[in-house]
């Protein structure tokens, strides 16, 4: 497949991510920060995000498994996750976290459990999508092309 086609495919894929609401503007901002002095910025931040989120999700699962749930701790974990996901631009995770926090405030256990499931699902989705995205980028670079910059005008 030639570079132009691959670039088009990349753009379409990115577009689809935006349409589905998986990513938002913040992700594009991150891409803008990547330059010669900081070539792997996006990859670094994303892997940091993955590690952080997995840790948080495990903590959350453990916390919700306890006989008496410490809602304050759960809330602080969810807050962290929300912060991370919004920094990266993972919009759906962020929205799920918002709902999660509401249930925490109400101390609604079933709600929290279902939210946790949803957050995990969204996280898996984002992880898959981003990994696919990175693979496509690597293919382009390997084929000698450059990754197209996406400009936004609001």
């Amino acid at each position: 497949m030639e570079v132009g086609q691959m670039q088009r495919r990349l753009l379409e894929y990115t577009k689809s991510l935006f349409m589905e609401g998986v990513l938002d503007n913040q992700f594009l901002q991150l891409q803008q920060l990547q330059d010669e002095s900081n070539p792997d910025f996006v990859a670094e931040v994303v892997s940091l995000f993955f590690a952080d989120s997995e840790r948080l999700l495990n903590d959350l699962t453990r916390a919700l498994d306890q006989p008496t749930i410490d809602f304050k701790m759960v809330d602080s974990h969810v807050h962290q996750l929300k912060g991370s996901s919004s920094s990266i631009g993972a919009e759906r995770i962020k929205n799920a976290c918002v709902a999660f926090r509401n249930f925490c405030e109400e101390q609604n256990i079933e709600g929290c459990m279902s939210c946790l499931q949803q957050v995990k699902q969204e996280y898996c989705l984002v992880k898959n999508k981003l990994e696919t995205l990175f693979r496509m980028e690597q293919q382009i670079v390997a084929a000698g092309g450059s990754i197209p910059m996406m400009e936004l005008s609001f």
Partner: protein, 740 residues
């Protein structure tokens, strides 16, 4: 012969005659002796007898008379001379005493008679006093009855009880056969029988109020005797030989609340009266006494007072009930309003984010799409999509702005700007459309219009653009002229704006802008609706459907915020129209301020890079920390990161020029850091600038940050451009507070 001394009677006495004389003389003597004894006896018994001397005299007289008659007993026969001498002496004495007595009696008898007269007089007086006592007692009785009646009547505030009690008590006190009360009907033309004493349920007899007898009773405040045959008195069916008792009627004034407003007791001018009719028992010879009539009058007055009290009480109870109902209604209305406001605010808060997000996605993707290779038709489609979504975004912003405007939470962003440039910008924006429609647009700015002014540039431009845009929209051919000049005080006052009182103040001037077009014009009756939001002018709506109806309403709000006035004049359909607005702007202190930044569209102003700027970033969240670090690195800063408050305390030094702090709601340690930094670096030029990064948009966070001495607050997420402008503003002004 010796002459004998005996005295012979003249003739030889008859034996029988002599015997009778003898007995009579004896009895006379007896009586004469016993009379003084009786007198003494009875006088001794009586307490007062002023005439002792008379008694003695009289006694002597009697005794002597008796003695005389006694001695006479011996003179019937031959009697000696001694007897004759005694007899003579006695007679002489008797004569003397009796003459004396007779003389005395002349004086005494009139006295005695007058005593009798005085006694008679006293007896009469006593009888009179008795009568008067009787009267007084009766009056006192009456007074007691009145007091008791009054007490009974005034002891209740219920109308019916008052009237019923009055009738009952009056009936009892005066022993009446029947007592009735006639009340005026609502129309005031008739009297209706309302209460009676004996009959339990009075049937609704009515009597016209204009009868002469009724007028007679109403015209005086005394109880008036009326004939038992008049309609008000004929309450019982006459049965045979009844001789109806006397009837008296008295008026009872029905006082109203308003009568008590005047100080002195009011003249009863437009008064309503009720009629009280009292009937004495028939077949009795009783008559109405004066004191009874007085009693009736007093009672009638008391009843009037009691009734008015009852009326006042009813009135105040009714008013209180009404107030309570109104209170309840107001309360529920207030609660409804609060709920509505809360619902609206919630809706806005959600819409604020939810509506903008998809819009951004649409706009972003459309822009992205524009960058790719497209066929011309596709390009046209994409451009249309972009334009429509921009319009939609504008509309959303407008709606949100308007809500905030109505809330009163919108505040003008005052700054110094280039006034002339604003007009030029608007002109540039409008020129393309105008040239397509082949309209000539002319801008005319007065020479004395200052070049720079202080005010809200963005909103002024928005208003101007809206007004000019309308002019272009509604003009099919012809020209548009825009004039701007400084309004002088005479031209400020306009008959169309009676509430507009511009006051010329130092450092301020009133900018007057007139936009005249030669378009379709507006009929005068539609002009008031122009500034009402969502009210579409029918004729205009037919022509083109691109007006949302909000533009002018928003402009009006902006203009009002700028202490100005906006209005539209038009001579009618087809005669074009002129939009005029006046706003208050300030005069900048230095007319050539070099710190001006105008035309906000310029993305690059100030520094684009901050080489070597030492920055400290504190953020507990690893991902967001590295993102912020990346941002700052891209801008050329020298970034150090810490992940906790303690580390921040340890690391921060005077070498750092800016400290970025992530403040999130759960942990408020960020504020502690600010306080700590303030304490550590007392001198202002040594202290690093502290900026908070937060995701919450409410004023509370901003206030807290300001309170602890932070120099700026930025809303997350931060884009590259935003960070760039933030840093440059910060370093220039050393303070930055982004409006939320």
């Amino acid at each position: 012969m010796e002459s004998c001394n005996c005295i012979e009677p003249q003739w030889p006495a008859d034996e029988l005659l002599m015997k009778y004389q003898y007995i009579s003389d004896f009895f006379i003597a007896l009586a004469y002796f016993s009379i003084p004894l009786e007198l003494i006896y009875f006088v001794k018994k009586s307490a007062v007898f002023p005439y002792r001397w008379v008694l003695v005299q009289f006694g002597a007289f009697i005794v002597l008379c008796g003695a005389t008659h006694l001695i006479n007993l011996w003179t019937f026969n031959m009697h000696s001379r001694t007897v004759a001498i005694v007899m003579t002496t006695a007679k002489v004495l008797t004569a003397v005493v009796s003459c004396a007595t007779a003389l005395m009696l002349v004086h005494i008898i009139p006295d005695l008679l007058s005593v009798k007269t005085r006694e008679l007089f006293l007896k009469n007086k006593a009888a009179e006093l008795d009568r008067e006592m009787g009267l007084i007692r009766t009056q006192e009785e009456t007074g007691r009855h009145v007091r008791m009646l009054t007490h009974e009547i005034r002891s209740t505030l219920d109308r019916h009880t008052i009237l019923k009690t009055t009738l009952v008590e009056l009936g009892r006190t005066l022993a009446l056969e029947e007592c009735a009360l006639w009340m005026p009907t609502r129309t005031g033309l008739e009297l209706q029988l309302s209460y009676t004493l004996r009959q339990q349920n009075p049937v609704g007899y009515t009597v016209p109020i204009q009868l002469p007898v009724i007028n007679q009773v109403f015209s005086s405040n005394h109880a008036v005797k009326i004939s038992p045959n008049c309609p008000v008195a004929r309450l019982r069916p006459l049965a045979g030989k009844y001789m109806p008792g006397e009837v008296v009627a008295v008026r009872v004034p029905l006082l109203h609340l308003s009568n008590f407003q005047i100080n002195d007791w009011p003249e009863l001018s437009t008064k309503r009266y009720a009629l009280m009719v009292l009937m004495l028992p028939s077949d009795s010879a009783r008559q109405w006494h004066v004191h009874e009539l007085e009693l009736v009058e007093v009672v009638a007055d008391q009843v009037a007072v009691a009734l008015s009290h009852a009326a006042i009480l009813e009135e105040s109870m009714r008013a209180r009930d009404l107030l309570m109902q109104q209170n309840i209604a107001l309360d529920s209305a207030r609660r409804e309003a609060e709920t509505a406001i809360r619902a609206r605010n919630d809706f806005l808060a959600v819409m604020n984010h939810e509506m903008r997000t998809p819009m951004h996605a649409i706009i972003a993707l459309s822009s992205l799409l524009q960058e790719t290779e497209l066929t011309p038709e596709q390009r046209l489609m994409v451009e249309t999509i972009l334009k429509s979504s921009n319009l939609l975004a504008t509309l959303i912003n407008d709606v949100l702005d308007l809500s905030r405007l109505e809330d009163g939470s919108l505040q003008l962003q005052i700054g110094t700007f280039n006034l002339h440039a604003v007009f030029r910008e608007v002109l540039n924006l409008i020129k393309p459309i105008a040239s397509v429609k082949k309209l000539l647009v002319a801008l005319n700015l007065a020479p004395d219009l200052p070049e720079y002014a202080v005010g809200d540039e963005k909103r002024l431009m928005q208003t101007l653009l809206n007004v000019v845009g309308n002019a272009v929209k509604f003009t099919k051919e012809g020209n548009i002229s825009i004039t701007g000049f400084v309004a002088k005080s005479e031209s400020l006052r306009d008959s169309r704006a009676p509430e507009f009182f511009p006051v010329p103040i130092e450092n301020h001037f009133y900018l007057r802008v007139q936009v005249r077009d030669s378009g379709s014009g507006i009929s005068p009756q539609d002009i008031p609706n122009l500034f009402t939001k969502f009210a579409q002018n029918q004729a205009i709506a037919l022509r083109n459907s691109s007006g949302s109806g909000l533009g002018l309403a928003i402009c009006k709000r902006f203009v009002n915020l700028m202490e100005g006035h906006i209005w539209i004049e038009s001579e009618g359909l087809g005669k074009g129209c002129t939009a005029i607005f006046i706003v208050k702007l300030g005069i900048p202190e230095h007319s050539n301020d070099s710190n001006l930044s105008f035309i906000p569209k310029m993305p690059v102003h100030g520094q684009t890079n901050f080489p070597g700027l030492k920055v400290l970033v504190m953020d507990e969240n690893g991902v967001s920390r590295s993102v912020t670090k990346g941002l700052l690195l891209h801008l050329g800063c020298d970034v150090m990161t810490v992940s906790s408050v303690e580390e921040c305390f340890q690391v921060v030094s005077h070498e750092h020029q800016v400290v970025f702090m992530d403040v999130c709601v759960p942990g408020i340690d960020g504020y502690e850091v600010a306080v700590h930094i303030h304490d550590k670096f007392t001198r202002r030029h040594e202290r690093p600038l502290i900026v908070a990064l937060t995701g919450s948009t409410d004023n509370l966070t901003k206030d807290n940050c300001m309170r602890v001495g932070m120099d700026g607050v930025i809303l997350k997420p931060v884009s590259l451009e935003k960070m760039r402008s933030v840093l440059s503003d910060l370093l220039e002004h050393r303070v930055l507070f982004e409006s939320m």
